[in-house]
């Protein structure tokens, strides 16, 4: 058998295709194809009509997104300019300090002095409050006494 196969000549092999198809295949095929084509056409039309239906909704959504983006950028621009203003006033204060004080040490000393003054003022305010509380002097009486004192001094 193997030896016989070695002498197979291509030109001697039948050119008829060695395949079969199920019975009535070609008779039934045109109808099947027509149905498939109509289905494909219907699907395409449905797809197109869906696009047509959704088109206004998409347009509206796109418009809202556009407005939202515009608002977002506008807010960003405004807050940026606010930040710029803040940083500008900080810069001005810095320049003022730099004009007033020749060195950084001097500037720190001045700030410390200012803080001490503030503390002293706060202490004085505390003393006044204690005095008013201890002698049970109400705010209205204090105002009256001050007004009277002011009148006396003006009469003099």
């Amino acid at each position: 058998m193997k030896n016989q196969n070695k002498h197979i000549d291509l030109s001697k092999i039948s050119k008829e295709l060695p395949f079969r198809v199920p019975d009535n295949y070609f008779e039934e095929l045109p109808e099947k194809i027509q149905v498939r084509c109509k289905e494909a056409e219907q699907t395409e039309q449905n797809g197109n009509s869906l696009i047509k239906i959704l088109k206004p909704a998409f347009s509206l959504a796109a418009m809202f997104i556009g407005v939202a983006l515009l608002a977002f950028f506008a807010v960003n621009i405004i807050s940026d300019s606010g930040q710029k203003q803040n940083s500008l006033s900080e810069d001005i204060a810095k320049v003022n300090y730099e004009e007033q004080y020749s060195s950084e040490e001097e500037m720190i000393k001045a700030i410390q002095e200012q803080q001490e003054n503030n503390e002293m003022n706060n202490e004085k305010a505390d003393e006044y409050i204690d005095y008013l509380l201890e002698d049970d002097i109400d705010y209205g009486t204090l105002i009256k006494e001050l007004e009277a004192e002011e009148q006396d001094s003006s009469n003099k």
């Binding site: 196969n5 291509l10 092999i13 050119k15 395949f19 198809v21 095929l29 194809i33 027509q34």
Partner: protein, 182 residues
């Protein structure tokens, strides 16, 4: 059924009231030739049936754009060839994942095919054809079984006549070697 020329069928297809009729005639005129062309590429009947139906759906969708600067038959063959090759590519991609050789799978299909009606030598020839590279396989089938003209093949496969002749020559040599050694 009356005989219509391709030109008449195309004109009828363009008119809405005769479109379905014309397409039905086109199917009847070409279904067998296209089926056998596809079957030789994909081997299995079920696959050939699927590819053929897809081919006709594509033809239905695209026929109104067909310009008559080429023959209708070569245009139909080109669509059928592209559909078959796309099908095989998808199959290869599927089998590549599972590490199975598609050519071997096609050979197995051939052996287990209920619709194979050939003898042992014809089976051997089909197996030999499956050892060819895809393009050579196409050229060999179209020339050997369909006895198609190189001019038409050139139009369908978009390849020069010289390249097709060389391809067929190589394919015949390989098949003869296969038949001698297996």
């Amino acid at each position: 059924m009356a005989d219509y020329s391709d030109k008449e069928l195309l004109q009828m297809f363009k008119a809405e009231d005769t479109k379905d009729f014309a397409f039905n005639v086109i199917i009847k005129n070409y279904q067998e030739r296209l089926y056998w062309h596809i079957r030789k590429i994909v081997i299995n009947h079920e696959d050939a049936d699927d590819v053929l139906q897809n081919t006709f759906v594509k033809i239905w969708k695209g026929l109104h754009r067909f310009r008559e600067d080429s023959k209708l038959f070569t245009w139909l063959y080109r669509i059928a060839t592209n559909e078959s090759l796309t099908f095989l590519k998808q199959k290869k991609r599927r089998y590549f994942v599972s590490f199975v050789d598609v050519e071997n799978q096609l050979k197995n299909t051939l052996e287990s095919d209920n619709y194979f009606s050939g003898d042992e030598i014809q089976m051997k020839l089909q197996k030999a054809i499956l050892t060819l590279p895809e393009k050579q396989r196409l050229v060999f089938n179209m020339k050997y079984f369909d006895e198609m003209k190189y001019e038409d093949m050139s139009e369908i496969l978009e390849t020069s006549i010289g390249a097709l002749k060389a391809s067929y020559h190589h394919a015949v040599k390989k098949i003869e070697n296969y038949l001698k050694n297996n």
